[in-house]
């Protein structure tokens, strides 16, 4: 294709607005696509202090006023936000003289993506990072069903549906009844360079803010919600402490935080479990580098980016054998897999890593190598660009072209 390929990404989060994994994903994907010769526009929600319009690492970012409509519930907020995002994006596209492709990330931008597809008659791609069915372990209310049907609608309207793991491909195929040839697997990635950036920090000094010198650090990073299995880790704490002196550092916020910290207090282990809340990027990266083991005990995990980050930080990983995590980690080679939802199994995995130094060294090295080979943004952006080009070729034969 001689002409420059123009893609408009729609996402409800983009740095500095970070809620979950979509934000870093879209940031790295857009940046790598830009480096690969694709013109990328990102339309996203606003964030205090972030400009309405700016260039970020070669990517043109537009932020849309997202909180001006009062909303009775989260889903209504999402639909109203989409109304605003769609009208702003429509004006941008018109001022740009058109784009070639719209790429929507999750149901959170479904309406905007679908509307833009039809008014401009350009192909829409969707990346499904998660599903309501998976997050809730089934559909239990009209509210959840509405979100589920919105996801189904997005996958129906999308020219291709991208998922980050084979697990998600089969999950999405089954949950929405999609044809095989509509689905594409492109893994998520991690930027190894970001872990080399803070090389000059004295990690021993840094470590003291979180643990005593004789304590091993067991690190959890994630939202404190049921699907992340944080309660499984908390239940494993006393079992690990029977064998190893360790400090459990829990990074992230969520509705389970209070009940978990109360539980820890009631079993007399407050001094062994530290809830840090949300931390900034630099602190997080250093923590990941210091961690003697990084634990991902999720019950549902479409991909498991946090495991990949730990591997890039050369921290050994213990993950539950589920979803995308099963594909990222090879047991005994790049990490340890344990039974999901089983505190005994999790404690076994953590103890194994903490007590066997040689074994752990091997895991770290293999994991790091695997990250460089498979989960590298340069490769991922090329795979994504290939999908764009395939879709545009198909599009050129339709009456929309």
């Amino acid at each position: 294709m001689p002409k420059e390929l123009k893609v408009m990404m729609l996402t409800w989060e983009f740095p500095p607005r970070i809620i979950g994994g979509i934000s870093p994903h879209v940031y790295h994907l857009s940046k790598s696509l830009a480096e690969n010769g694709v013109k990328v526009y990102v339309v996203t929600c606003d964030f205090p202090g972030a400009p309405q319009h700016e260039m970020v690492d070669g990517v043109e970012v537009f932020r849309v006023d997202s909180y001006k409509n009062p909303s009775p519930d989260f889903a209504s907020w999402v639909y109203l936000m989409n109304m605003n995002m769609q009208k702003e994006a429509a004006a941008f596209v018109k001022s740009l003289g058109g784009v070639d492709i719209f790429h929507a990330h999750d149901w959170l931008v479904a309406n905007a993506g679908i509307g833009l597809k039809h008014v401009f008659r350009k192909p829409l791609l969707a990346t499904m990072h998660s599903t309501e069915y998976g997050r809730r372990n089934g559909i239990h209310s009209d509210y959840e069903k509405m979100i589920h049907e919105t996801e189904a609608w997005l996958t129906y309207e999308a020219w291709r549906v991208i998922c980050c793991s084979n697990y998600m491909v089969s999950h999405v195929k089954w949950v929405f009844g999609l044809p095989e040839d509509k689905l594409v697997m492109i893994p998520n990635g991690v930027e190894v360079k970001e872990y080399e950036k803070h090389e000059n920090t004295d990690l021993n000094q840094f470590r003291r803010r979180f643990a005593l010198p004789e304590e091993k650090i067991v690190l959890f990073v994630g939202r404190l919600v049921y699907e992340k299995g944080i309660h499984v880790l908390v239940n494993a704490v006393p079992k690990v402490l029977e064998k190893v002196n360790a400090k459990f550092v829990i990074v992230g916020n969520g509705y389970m935080q209070q009940s978990l910290s109360e539980h820890v207090k009631s079993i007399g282990l407050s001094h062994k479990v530290l809830f840090t809340g949300f931390v900034d990027d630099a602190t997080l990266r250093n923590l990941q580098k210091c961690a003697d083991v990084s634990v991902v005990p999720s019950l549902f995990e479409p991909f498991g980016i946090v495991a990949l980050e730990a591997m890039a930080a050369k921290s050994p990983v213990v993950v539950s054998d589920t979803g995308g995590l099963s594909e990222i980690v090879e047991h005994d080679v790049t990490g340890v897999k344990v039974y999901p939802g089983n505190p005994d199994s999790l404690a076994w995995g953590i103890t194994r890593v903490l007590l066997d130094n040689d074994y752990t060294c091997r895991l770290r090295e293999n994991a790091y190598k695997r990250v460089l080979e498979r989960f590298n943004w340069k490769i991922i952006s090329q795979q994504t660009k290939n999908v764009y080009e395939t879709v545009l070729k198909e599009y050129s034969k339709t009456f929309w072209a």
Partner: protein, 209 residues
């Protein structure tokens, strides 16, 4: 002149007074050399398309069946309205002069089509949330009011059916009076006033182009 009319009710699907009004409007427009296209909601009994006395009617259904409120129902229906309107636009060789959106339901679609394709719209008011909900200001009511506000702000003209409603639009939404036209359905010059409003908007669009 090619006009797309948005209405969430249209015969045989009659919810309130609006359905019959929009039907009469579209027939009168057709009689006055306007090509009216009605985009409305599909109730499964009526079919996706019909044409009668020069009025083309496109009916869309909601791809999301389950809802928690009329607000979520409306907001997910809008993309189908956009799809139907865009199809009319492209099939007619991009010759759509304006959209006449009746009440708040399809204002999001009208605004997007304006921004994307440069089609101006008229906001025709049958009723306002402030009256329907007797001044209630829960987040649900306020969300609907915020959509009405968006419509008032983005519309090129506002058509009302009484002097009272014109005053209310000014009172509630601080709309400049010059933007509002009163076309009383019972008045002799009802359709003339609407045609004049459409015509002046077309002239303005041509002038700005």
């Amino acid at each position: 002149m090619r006009v797309i009319i948005f209405s969430w009710e249209f015969p045989p699907r009659v919810v309130g007074k609006l359905a019959d009004y929009v039907k009469e409007l579209s027939l009168q427009l057709a009689r006055n050399n306007v090509k009216p296209y009605v985009v409305t909601y599909h109730d499964y009994l009526t079919g996706e398309f019909d044409e009668e006395y020069g009025v083309k009617t496109y009916r869309v259904t909601n791809p999301v069946k389950t809802h928690v409120s009329v607000l979520t129902w409306v907001l997910t229906l809008n993309q189908e309205v956009e799809r139907a309107a865009a199809n009319i636009y492209y099939k007619s060789g991009k010759q759509v002069d304006l959209i006449d959106a009746h009440d708040w339901h399809f204002i999001p679609a009208a605004v997007t089509l304006k921004k994307a394709l440069g089609i101006p719209f008229v906001y025709s008011i049958e009723s306002l949330e402030d009256h329907r909900s007797h001044g209630a200001n829960s987040p649900f009511n306020m969300a609907i009011k915020s959509i009405e506000w968006l419509g008032m702000y983005e519309a090129s003209r506002i058509l009302v059916k009484s002097k009272w409603m014109a005053n209310e639009a000014v009172r509630i939404y601080k709309v400049p009076e010059s933007k509002i036209k009163i076309a009383k359905p019972e008045a002799k010059l009802w359709i003339e006033t609407i045609l004049e409003t459409y015509g002046s908007l077309m002239e303005e669009t041509a002038h700005n182009a």
